[in-house]
């Protein structure tokens, strides 16, 4: 990248380059962040001001009403969090088990059907039956309507993650596997003992991808769930945004609090994304690594 040199004075072209780079990148970063700022400040505004004057980036008033409301009547929120956590936890663990096993098997050069199976999996990204047969399969044939299982299954495995896992495994030298087998371990033992211990970063990366996918998923709940008690966070937020009825139902009268219809939506968005925002600084590097390794495969 940047060649090391002992220049103390910056050359003219570097000044020009950075003169473009700094403002451009700064503006872009700001633009990327602005939407969240709006949502956050909007959630902290007095609802009446919003109704009167619309949402503003820098509101005149400050109010915790929307949050007070959410946490005062936490039933719906807790249920939504429950659904999301359930789906995310089981989906991530289940997916990791399946994906790591598959990645291990596809990594083993001595496995004769490796390429055929790889193609078998990869082909699903080229051609698909479409969502209508898929929907019919899930609801009519498998009978998974209104089951959180449907949501879990829908996001369990993707070809991208399997290939990613296989690429991670390339770091494990084959000699290790051979040595373990000489010691009498069967394939599964070699998998667990040798490979898993070396692959903690890989598991973390793919686990995070899975978890993020589940956390943000609203499409599968929309397809398969009808019972409001099952709605996970993002889908619940969606119903608040798009259904007058939903927001009315959320508007159970609470002693002393006027129902903050508009700001409640904003507050709900903040609550739904909050955890992601909190862990973001810590997990960002895993995603960067995952995308990098996945893309290098090409």
């Amino acid at each position: 990248m940047k060649p090391r040199s002992n220049r103390v004075r910056k050359t003219r072209d570097e000044i020009l380059f950075n003169g473009i780079a700094f403002p451009f990148l700064a503006v872009l970063s700001l633009v990327c962040f602005l939407p969240f700022l709006l949502i956050i400040t909007a959630s902290l505004t007095n609802n009446n001001e919003v109704v009167r004057e619309g949402f503003k980036l820098i509101p005149k008033s400050f109010s915790l009403d929307a949050y007070r409301y959410i946490f005062f009547v936490p039933g719906k929120l807790l249920r939504a969090y429950g659904s999301t956590l359930f789906v995310t936890a089981f989906g991530t663990v289940g997916g990791l088990v399946l994906i790591s096993m598959a990645g291990y098997v596809l990594h083993r050069k001595d496995f004769r059907y490796r390429n055929k199976i790889s193609f078998f999996i990869y082909f699903t990204t080229l051609f698909s039956g479409g969502i209508i047969p898929y929907y019919i399969l899930m609801t009519s044939i498998l009978g998974l309507r209104n089951s959180l299982f449907a949501v879990i299954l829908a996001g369990l495995v993707t070809p991208f993650q399997i290939i990613l896992m296989r690429n991670f495994m390339k770091n494990v030298p084959y000699e290790l596997i051979e040595a373990a087998k000489i010691d009498g371990a069967n394939d599964f033992r070699t998998f667990t003992d040798v490979v898993l211990h070396l692959q903690k970063p890989a598991l973390a990366t793919i686990g995070l991808f899975l978890a993020l996918g589940y956390w943000n998923n609203w499409y599968s709940p929309m397809l398969f769930l009808n019972k409001a008690e099952l709605y996970p966070l993002q889908y619940y937020l969606y119903t608040l945004l798009t259904s007058e009825q939903a927001i009315q139902e959320a508007g159970v009268a609470v002693e002393g609090l006027i129902f903050p219809g508009e700001t409640l939506k904003m507050a709900m968005a903040v609550v739904a994304t909050g955890p992601v925002l909190l862990v973001y600084p810590y997990v960002q590097k895993y995603f960067v690594r995952g995308i990098t390794i996945g893309a290098v495969k090409g």
Partner: protein, 326 residues
Amino acid sequence: MYNPTTTIKKASGNGQRKEKSARIGFFLELKKNKILFLMIAPVLIYFVVFSYLPMVGVYFAFTRFNFNDGLFGSPFVGFKNFKFLFDTGTLLYLTKNTILYNIAFILLGNSLSITVAILLSRVANKTFKRLTQSFMFFPFFISYVIVNTFSYAMLNSGTGVFTRLLASVGIENFNAYSTPGIWKYIIVSVYLWKTLGYGTVIYLAAITGISDEYYEAAQVDGATIFQQVRYITIPLLVPTFIILLLLAIGGILRGQFELFYQLVGSNGQLFEATDILDTYVFRMLRVTFDLGIGAAAGLYQSLFGLVLILTVNYVIRKYQEDYALF
């Protein structure tokens, strides 16, 4: 002691005995690697059930499916569904929208990502680089429902920031949801905003892979940063771009369903300008309940994409073998 090489040699056989030994080879392989097969079995079953089984369902595209007659009892209507889609011009405008949007996404998205990646790779301050990259990557982590929330906050007719802004300069009663013309700008902008971070990571990784020696040699020859970028960085990024392009072309008829659906929703007035194949198929499923038509549109989408990527891959393979996908 287990020796993989021997197994492979034994199982391969020679040309004459190939077929018989292939069959024996499979069972031999199965027995030898029983556990490996077991380990990959769940994933295989998963794809068979959730990816390959639905492929059989393209049969519905040729029926007038209704829930009373069910899976196998619905009347077979041949290509009538396709004819309908074609005659009403639906297929045409859906294809046009889907492709045009994708072209915009691909060209603008990659250009922006490459630019940002180049800028980031050479910017003078490391902390600044880390910080800005974090900001630009964050939109990737939020769900499209939040995108919807933001667009609601901006555009809704009662309290939207943008709506009020227009009112304050005299344009009253602006309803974004009945103004189809602006939506292409909105959709493309939001797409860029959401995917910028992801693309930048990919191109940054590619740039990191470029050996420093090139740059150092160029510097010795007196090249400015701009010249280095133009003659070293960009040409060496072309392979990455082509691979991404290929992958994108394969999905050119597949749209960003979540993006479009969360932004446009069920606002019918906007459909002519913003409807893509994915959202149309979805509405056939959930609103119109015309599953036959929806399946037909879906099949068209998948088939078109498959043919396209095979063609493009074939063409690229003739000219530059390394760039082809397979």
